[in-house]
Symmetry: none
Subunit: 211 residues, 4 copies
């Protein structure tokens, strides 16, 4: 039975791969309670695809994953904001600036994943992780905000959130950016899935940032 929907993105910004989709595929390939869906990096289609997947699979948990080139660790996101401000065009050539994800929606949604427990679990496995307080203003934040809005309005009781992962070594080879092997990212995502399925109350340990 499927209980967890994981999503990754198609490549964007000139990349040939997107490690979020690679890691999600790897994980769902070995766990029968999960299913993976690839989201287009296109503002006008990403949330439609996400909605269709939730309608089809009726999961109890949704974890959307995206690539955060330059970040050194796996970062569960805490807050999604109702703002799109695209630094580059999406894969359909659209570059919306200063528009809301959902007109009239609340300014922000907080994740319903136990992000602190997830980070603690990943660190216990000796993989790098921290809680992030910004998912940016591009398609990742759009999907994160759109997911939380959807769950809040239409799927009561279904929990969800967003996780950013670093470049893969393949991508980082051309830069000085840090990277994480795709199979290690998949391990981290599995810890997040298991933690989210078993933990309802997050840890009360500090995980904030000073700025």
């Amino acid at each position: 039975m499927t209980s967890v929907l994981l999503t990754g993105f198609e490549p964007f910004g000139g990349e040939r791969v997107n490690p979020s989709w690679q890691a999600v595929s790897l994980l769902t390939g070995r766990r029968r309670d999960t299913v993976a869906v690839e989201l287009p990096c296109v503002f006008s289609r990403s949330l439609v695809t996400l909605r269709d997947a939730i309608d089809e699979y009726r999961p109890e948990l949704v974890i959307c994953v995206g690539q955060a080139g330059g970040r050194p660790d796996v970062t569960p996101e805490r807050v999604a904001i109702n703002l799109i401000d695209a630094r580059i065009a999406d894969n359909a050539g659209s570059q919306p600036v200063d528009v809301p994800v959902i007109p009239g929606g609340p300014n922000a949604y907080f994740t319903t994943l136990p992000v602190k427990a997830c980070v603690a679990g990943i660190k216990d496995a000796e993989l790098p992780a921290s809680v992030s307080h910004t998912a940016g203003t591009y398609v990742c934040n759009q999907v994160f905000y759109g997911l939380m809005h959807l769950l809040d309005n239409d799927f009561p009781g279904v929990r969800g959130g967003f996780v950013h992962i670093p470049y893969s070594p393949e991508q980082a080879a051309r830069t000085t950016a840090p990277s994480l092997a795709v199979h290690r990212a998949a391990e981290a995502l599995e810890i997040i899935v298991d933690t989210a399925l078993s933990v309802t109350e997050d840890l009360a340990t500090p995980a904030g940032t000073l700025h």
Copy 2:
């Protein structure tokens, strides 16, 4: 006539100075339309002091400034979130974790400063700047959120926002962190003040982040 209230913070986290207060003092010392107030780095008192200052000076513009040790540039903040998660204790020894700034308040407020025009102006002056989408989860974010809540509820028409500035060279000397001279930070703040006083519609240029 005073039309602009600027606030800086007292030192915290073991520092002997706080460049936000130094820069704000420097700027207000030479502009008669501004006034400076120093905020305590204490969760239970920061918003009380801010409120008192607004009540006393009745400004048309409020810009709160804080130190962001490690950031390389001047960063006007775009969004304040209704979350406190203190990584370290405040100056009164209190370390609240996972509590809202204002119980029952909206999840976030967006700044009413023209942050893109401010960043463009600072860059024109050959000083480093960018828009930030997270003010953290400490006293800076508390003050930013509390300010926007106050203005939204009680002072219609008054605009406000928050700006983070880097360490001063004096502070950074002990670390490998980037820094900005206090008088250069004061120049950047003056550009922000002038821009906010003269610009009502922000630029429509992209200034977002991919993550």
Copy 3:
């Protein structure tokens, strides 16, 4: 000259009236040294409105009054705690649970009203009264705690406290709960005002509870 600020609440919890506002209005209508302000039963706005009223009227005494449906007597409250745990949503639909009134504030404040002298005075007038040691964890306690925090930080010398009153007969008609006529509650509040204005040291008689 106004020297006493009294506040009551708007109706909440499905009621059409709130006897706290009715009684406070009745009392201030006949005493020129008092003024009444109605507080919203909304966590995010109650303390803003209270603060505004104190700023405007600069009273020497502040007495906030609330409805305690089910209590049989007028109960001056002795202690406010730094905790919100809303059993029902407020009038804006918000239901915060286990968050502090003031992050980083002290765990509790004691009233600065002479509650024992007030109770003695009310009983002398053959009205029912007792000292209460819990104001609950809803908007009443939030307002009580927020008031004491405000007075303690910003208005030295101004005394204040909170009083709960029973349902009005109109409300109680639908239940088996006890009630007190609004004009009798107003009499009790007037005794509290007069006592607080004239007594600085409270009585030393026992008024505690065994549990």
Copy 4:
């Protein structure tokens, strides 16, 4: 190995028994990881006896239990206040009024027991329970406050709290007050012990009171 210290009180107020000591004795008689100590209902000696017991047994958990004649259910207490106001004399004839438990101590301490999870567990066993927000101002509150002060200052990591239980049927027979059989109270206390040993984060469900 002893990991849990339970305390009950000696009889007071003219009673011949105290169900808190009866229930605690019953429970510790069948659980080898617990130990019971009887506290005197004497302001000048209660905290000395409690301190001695903690020093001797070095428990990881301390649960003090008291009788709340008139209450219909088992009530884990959420907050202890720094106030003694004795309605009746203690067993040594002393009746302190309006004095602090610990001079200079904070105004209140919150329990470190997961009171909501405890209440949920007791209700699951079809026994009556609710969270209480006042432990009164007598020896029970003194012991609760003194316990939390002691743990906070001298025994970091040790958790503790206070639970009130109803009259026993034997006591209630002379009154119209509700009662709970001692062996049923002992069952409820065992659920509290097990819950506190296994749960570190309390439930986030509402359990507050409107007044």
